[in-house]
């Protein structure tokens, strides 16, 4: 694998992200944006860096880009103003929540890395992945993978690439054919890198066919028409629709359904979920799509991150219950004291 010498050196630093985090923690004493950067480096990029989709990308560039873009990101800058420095008191609650949430994620990542076994519940759609690939192999038919319509700047597409990596490893083992038509040129590049890496991991680099991962068109319905054409002509035994989808979701899923393929879909776009639920055999609903990588890889750090996110949901539930209870009390009693306590809870989420 080729990297520029500097990247090789930086990638060789085992705890580069931790080093950057330490710098950010130091800066956090006076800086809200730095704290958010700290949060970003510990949570999202951590998941991104650990993912197979970007395992071939220079991690130092990834970390730098995440940090840089975070410092420029809305709504922090928008509210802080370009000249107001590093600390925006109006957004202190985001700082507190950021620390709580990322702290929970960090804690479980550390525990998981230390070898603590972490449970993950069954996700039906993912249990059948191997069965679907096996069926395609028996039937001598290809497997279609549609990574959604979004580009690589969308988290769903990154999650989709992670899943593609896992799926390609299984497919390489079964010696089936994987067909990935894509809508965005960047997604094509990442998908090719990912699948090639998976075939290498599976010990089948010779079976990798670059042309099976190809660009179609940026136009939404042209892409849908082309994928429909592929489905009816190649008659894949299994169709995977994982990523961000829009109005074409039902068109694709119905066409796949008409040829009798096993269909597994997943998206975090709520308007499209009903169509996938109606037309596919299994659907990964919302966050299940993001949990899928951890589920399939069982990689301790990703499982730890998942557990930490669950803690975040637990915190959300506690605050919703507390906030609702206080609001109800305030509504019934009209008490000034209750209102003041309620204000404190609401402040965190303002």
């Amino acid at each position: 694998m080729h990297h520029l010498p500097t990247t090789r050196i930086l990638c060789g630093v085992p705890h580069l992200s931790r080093l950057l985090c330490a710098v950010c923690v130091f800066a956090a004493v006076s800086s809200q944006r730095a704290v958010l950067a700290f949060a970003a480096l510990f949570s999202l990029p951590r998941a991104v860096l650990a993912s197979s989709a970007v395992s071939t990308l220079p991690r130092a560039v990834l970390a730098f880009a995440a940090l840089f873009s975070l410092l420029q990101a809305d709504p922090v800058l928008a509210q802080a103003g370009a000249e107001s420095g590093w600390f925006n008191t109006d957004r202190t609650q985001a700082l507190v929540l950021g620390i709580i949430l990322t702290g929970a994620i960090l804690l479980y990542v550390v525990l998981a890395s230390a070898g603590r076994p972490l449970f993950i519940r069954k996700i039906a759609g993912l249990e059948t992945v191997e069965e679907a690939v096996g069926r395609a192999t028996e039937m001598g038919k290809p497997i279609l993978y549609v990574p959604g319509l979004n580009d690589m700047d969308e988290v769903q597409t990154i999650a989709s690439m992670n899943l593609l990596g896992h799926l390609a490893t299984i497919i390489a083992g079964y010696d089936s054919r994987l067909h990935v038509p894509v809508r965005k040129s960047l997604v094509m590049s990442v998908a090719r890198e990912t699948v090639q890496q998976s075939y290498l991991t599976a010990g089948r680099p010779d079976a990798y066919q670059e042309d099976d991962i190809h660009y179609v068109s940026d136009a939404q319905f042209a892409y849908a028409a082309a994928v429909d054409g592929i489905i009816v002509r190649e008659k894949p035994a299994a169709c995977f629709y994982l990523g961000g989808f829009y109005a074409e979701s039902l068109i694709l899923a119905e066409t796949g359904n008409s040829i009798g393929a096993i269909q597994i879909a997943g998206t975090a776009r709520p308007p499209q979920l009903p169509f996938f639920v109606a037309a596919c055999d299994y659907t990964l609903i919302g966050e299940e799509l993001f949990a899928a990588s951890a589920y399939l890889s069982k990689e301790p750090r990703m499982l730890g991150s998942l557990k930490g996110q669950d803690a975040g949901k637990g915190i959300a539930i506690v605050f919703i219950l507390a906030g609702s209870a206080l609001a109800t009390l305030e509504s019934i009693t009209g008490s000034e004291t209750v209102r003041e306590v309620s204000e404190i809870v609401l402040w965190l989420f303002r």
Binding site: V54, A65, S69, I158, L186, G229, P270, P274
Partner: protein, 224 residues
């Protein structure tokens, strides 16, 4: 182009695409390939003139581009844009096997940048605002202290629905016992929501069909 000819092309391509409802056929294939080819080329041209020219070339060579980028007249070159230009060129190194590895730098920047940009955005829109919107009173009274049954019921359903839905998305605990029941209620809430969304969206899609039918109607009107 002649309006009648446009109508004929429009109607013919619509019918070719709709013929897929019967089965795959050469007419559909023709329309599909035409659609893919034309849209890919069209969007590439649009991307060049709408993005590359004003956002990059117009910034780097304003005097040269003043004829095609109105805002570039009298502006001095902004050399910061050399950085994205270099990253853009790095992406193209993928076309040369020997240099293809360089494209990973640009890809890494895009993926890392997306992660960084999205974190505060999602923290706000998918967490803070959602929790804030759910902290509502379960008992709603009017100004004179009378209970508003409808509003109260609506608030209770919202709060319980959100909590049950959140519990369904707990991945690191087994869904059995009380948690299992709450999770089950959560998936029911989700499915009811999906059902309502399905009907709503299908109604919206009917408008797309109406648009095509109107095009065919205009074509038929031009014949008769």
């Amino acid at each position: 182009m002649d309006v009648t000819l446009m109508l004929w092309i429009d109607a013919a391509l619509t019918l070719m695409i709709l013929s897929f409802l019967y089965r795959d056929n050469p007419f559909y294939k023709f329309a599909e390939h035409l659609f893919v080819g034309v849209s890919a080329a069209y969007l590439m041209a649009v991307g060049f003139w709408d993005h590359l020219v004003p956002n990059l070339l117009g910034k780097l060579f304003p005097s040269l581009m003043s004829g095609v980028v109105p805002g570039a007249v009298g502006r001095s070159p902004d050399y910061y844009y050399l950085i994205p230009a270099i990253f853009g060129l790095l992406l193209l190194t993928r076309l040369i096997d020997r240099w293809a590895w360089l494209s990973r730098w640009a890809l890494a920047f895009i993926v890392g940048g997306a992660a960084g940009f999205n974190l505060p955005r999602f923290l706000d829109s998918d967490f803070i605002i959602q929790v804030q919107s759910t902290m509502i009173p379960l008992v709603v009274l009017d100004a004179s202290g009378n209970l508003l049954w409808g509003a109260s019921f609506s608030h209770v359903v919202l709060v319980l629905g959100v909590i049950c839905g959140l519990v369904y998305f707990f991945f690191s605990v087994e869904h059995k016992g009380v948690l299992g029941h709450v999770s089950r209620a959560g998936i029911w809430v989700l499915m009811v929501t999906f059902g309502a969304a399905f009907g709503y969206t299908v109604m919206a899609r009917i408008s797309l069909l109406t648009g095509r039918m109107e095009a065919l109607g205009a074509w038929l009107g031009s014949i008769f």
